[in-house]
Each structure stands twice: as C-alpha cells, then as structure tokens.
C-alpha cells in the first residue's frame, strides 16, 4: 500500500545560508520507524532532484520522533541573494511531505 508522507508526519523548514533545513516529525512511534527507514539521505536527495544541488545531511531526534535534514546548495545563494520566490525554503517541508512511501502490512 502506498501512503503519502503527509499522512504520517508534519514538519517545518527554513534557511541556513544557502542550505535549507527540513525537519520532519512523525505523529507516532510507528511513523517514526517508517520515516527512519524510508527517509534515507539517498531517497531525500532523489526526491529533491533539481531543487537541492548539493549534499544532503540527515540527523535523528528520536526524542521528538523527528529527523532533520540539511539540504546544501538549495536556496539560490541564500535568503537575500536568491531570486527564488521561496528564497528561505519555507515551503520545502511541505515539498518533502509529498513523498510517496510503500508500506508492507
């Protein structure tokens, strides 16, 4: 069964220079196990192809059932230099929640 990440998690994103930070929080422990397994650096990098032009770093926060990603070289030069409409990456957490995940029951 395919689900959208949106169904099991929420999050918030913002800017850190030219990198965007994307925090994803699972609603429950089961959801956290899923995101820990599915949101690998490779999968996130692939999802953001054409948006994130640099490295992806991943950090775990089990205390919040959350993962934090740093997407380097993503914001078109950073907050004040960028010509992007979303120069601060505010909508990128929502963009990651678009991801479809295969769940095996």
């Amino acid at each position: 069964m395919k689900i959208k990440l949106l169904d099991i998690a929420h999050g918030r994103s913002g800017d850190k220079g030219d990198a965007a930070n994307v925090g994803i929080i699972a609603y429950d422990d089961n959801g956290y196990n899923i995101i820990k397994k599915e949101l690998t650096v490779e999968n996130v990098k692939k999802h953001f192809a054409g948006i994130c032009l640099g490295e992806v770093e991943r950090f775990e926060l089990p205390n919040l059932k959350a993962l934090n990603f740093l997407l380097h070289n993503t914001l078109g030069g950073g907050g004040t230099v960028s010509l992007k409409h979303d120069a601060q990456g505010k909508t990128l957490a929502a963009a990651l929640l678009r991801m479809e995940i295969e769940i095996y029951e």
């Binding site: 918030r12 930070n21 925090g23 929080i25 948006i51 409409h85 979303d86």
Partner: protein, 455 residues
Amino acid sequence: MKEKIKIASGQGFWGDLIDAPYHQIIKGDIDYLVMDYLAEVTMSILQKQKNKNPELGYAKDIPELMKRILPLIKEKNIKVITNGGGVNPIACANAVLEVAKNLGIKNLKIGIVLGDNIKDNIDSFISSGAQLRNMETDESIELVKDRILSANVYFGAFPIVEALQKGAEIVITGRTTDTGLTLAPMIYEFGWSEIDYDLLSAGTVAGHILECGAQSSGGNFLGDWQSIPNMAEIGFPIAEAYPNGEVIITKHPNTGGRVSFETVAEQLLYEIGDPKSYITPDCIADFTSIKLEDLGNDRVKVYDVKGFPETEFYKVSCSYSDGYSAISTLTYSWPQALTKAKAADEILRKRLANLLLQFDEIKTEFVGYNSTHGPLAVQLDEENINEIMLRVGVRSHDYKSVERFGKEIAPLILTGPPAVTGFAGGRPKPSEVVAYWPALISKKLVNPNIEIIEL
C-alpha cells in the same frame, strides 16, 4: 530567589503583529517581555539608515510601542529585553527615555549592551590575528572587505544579565542571539552559573521556542493547521521557567492558537543544523536530549535538557554589497495561461540576449504552478488553469543591465501573448544585493560593554 518566572515573547521578527507585546502585558501576568527584531538582513538596512542619519539605525517600532506599554510595565513591574537597538542601541535607549519623560514617568533605568558592532574596527581585528574567513567557504575576508555594509558579533545572555544586575528595567541590545534574550532573565533570577551547561541549555531551548513568536503557538503549523482555533487572536508563547531548568511553554488564557507537543516540536526543528550541537555564545545545547510532555490545556513541559561548554569563539555576521537585482511579475489568464506565460518568458529572454545584457542569473518561476515546489509540482491540466503569474528575477554586478531588464517587462503587455495584466507597479528598480559573510572571532578580542542611562 523566585520560584518561577514568566517570560513572554512579544515579537518574532521586525514586522510581526504590532499589538502582540501589548496583549502579552494585558492578557495575563508576566515578569519579562522579550522581543526579537533582528534578522540578518535587518542589520544592513539599519546600518544604511544610520549612515544617512546618525540618530537612526534601530527598530523605530520600539519608541512607539513604549508610549503604549511603559506605564503598564512600571505598574506591573515587568522587565523588557530586546535586541531592537540594532546598530544604534544608544539612540534607541535615548528615544525610549524621551518617551518616558513625555509620559511623566519619574524614574526608569535602561541598560544598553554595546560592543557587538565591529564594522569600524575590522582592520584592527585582522591585524590582531582575527582571520574572519568565511565559515562556509573558507574564503578570505579580503575578497569583500571594501564592500562591507555591517559587521556584528553575536553576544549571548551574559551581557544582558549584567545589565539586569545593574538594575535595568529595560535592556536594549544590538546583535544578541535570539535565545540569549530569554535565557538572560533565568540566569539573573535563578543565579545560574556560567558553567551550569545543562541549565544554560534549558534556557537556550526555551529561547529557541520563543524566538519566532507565535510559530510555536499554532502559527505556521504544518500539522492539522485547520484545527488551530482562532488564529485571528493568536496568543504568543510564554515560557514559565523554574530554577531547576524545567520550562513550561504556554500562552495566555482566552487567546487563539495552540501550544501542544506538535506545535512546539515543529519550532524546535526550525532552522537547526546538527541537533546535538546547537551552538550559542553561552553553551552548546543538545536538542536530542530535550524531553517534551504535553500537559494539556496549552501547556507543554520541556525538561531534561543537556548541554556542553561553549566554544571560544563568537560568531560574526558581516553583510556586504554584491551587485544588483530586480524581480517583476505579469499575470496571464485562461485559456492556456501557463503556455502563454512560458512563451512570454522566452520572448523576454530573447530580447535580453539581443541587447547583450550581462546577468549572473535569470530566474523564471510560474506562480500558481511551480514557484514553491519546483520540479515536484504536479503537471497542470491547461484547460483548468484559471491564471498563472510569470515571475522573472535577474541578478547582475552591472547596474545598467538590471535597470534595462526593468524596462523590458511592461512592453510584453502590448508585444507578447494576450490576456495579460498585473503591471501596475511601474518599472522595477534595481535593488542592491546584500550578501552574508559568516565568520568566527576569538572571544578574547571582543568585549561587551554595558551602559546604564536613567531618569
């Protein structure tokens, strides 16, 4: 020692709800009001204002706000801490003192934290051994030294603590960490030492939760946002702090919004890097140690925070001039709105190329289609698109190229695809691009300096 103190966030950025600090004061009891006015871009704007008029360079909202709240904070014994002094905290403090005089207030002590502004001493710092290399690219400061618009050290909580110890009722700082504004009253009231790293980290975490205003109390909440009650009258967050480092995040009763595990967790993840190493001038907080407990009724307990010793450096944020940019938009209606907008972009780019203009970047986005999620946007069915906004931005070190770009937009209305509108604002003028240069400087080289002025 007080058993607990209540610290209220009154402003998440310069431009936030004007009435929020007033509501924090009148809708319930608080001990401290903290207000963050400074984003990175703000410092360069304030520096430009100060260059034109030496009496400016601070958040001008502050004297206006003080007219309204000074009698109340005197009556209720509420202390105010803000970094809205920008690049001219003394002028800001003098303006507040003037407001107090006009209100007939008899006595008032204002603490000013100075020493963060190093713009005029960069050469002497370099000759003292400060490299100020770019933290991200490792480039030499020499590349941008002649174009620097502002340069400020981020101080932490302790200079504010010193001002409070000297009796300040209002503390006005320049560049201070957002978290320091909230941590300082805890250190001051509970007598926390500068090596109590777990406690300093607990206060830092509380500061991170408060620093963006209502973003932790239901605003910009990506969970079930439609369930957040009464966002029109959203309550800003309040940290109820205890001497053992426990903090309860809450908001005043009878206000809108929500404080829950989810709303606080989202803010904890906002703009962080490695969660094990949240670096401030006061400590390094470990965000993976934070425990959150949702107590219900808009109360979330934050506890068990662990921390480590601070580094030997202050962060420096320099801004420098890096060319010019302009952005313009046109709106195309049904039918074939997206196709028309794409055709207009091609026509525009051909004209810019024919003119041999020099750009570092030309960026086209289609608002209503892909301006937020880029290649992740779902393909649209042309028949069902009502309208699309074409948004084109250019950036260049050649002013004339950017200026000419501004003159090539409006003509598209009469010389391009049909059913187009939305060019009412006139030609976009080139604006200066302000870029950032983050660096580190040894704490031994910079010292905060606290002044008190009083009535």
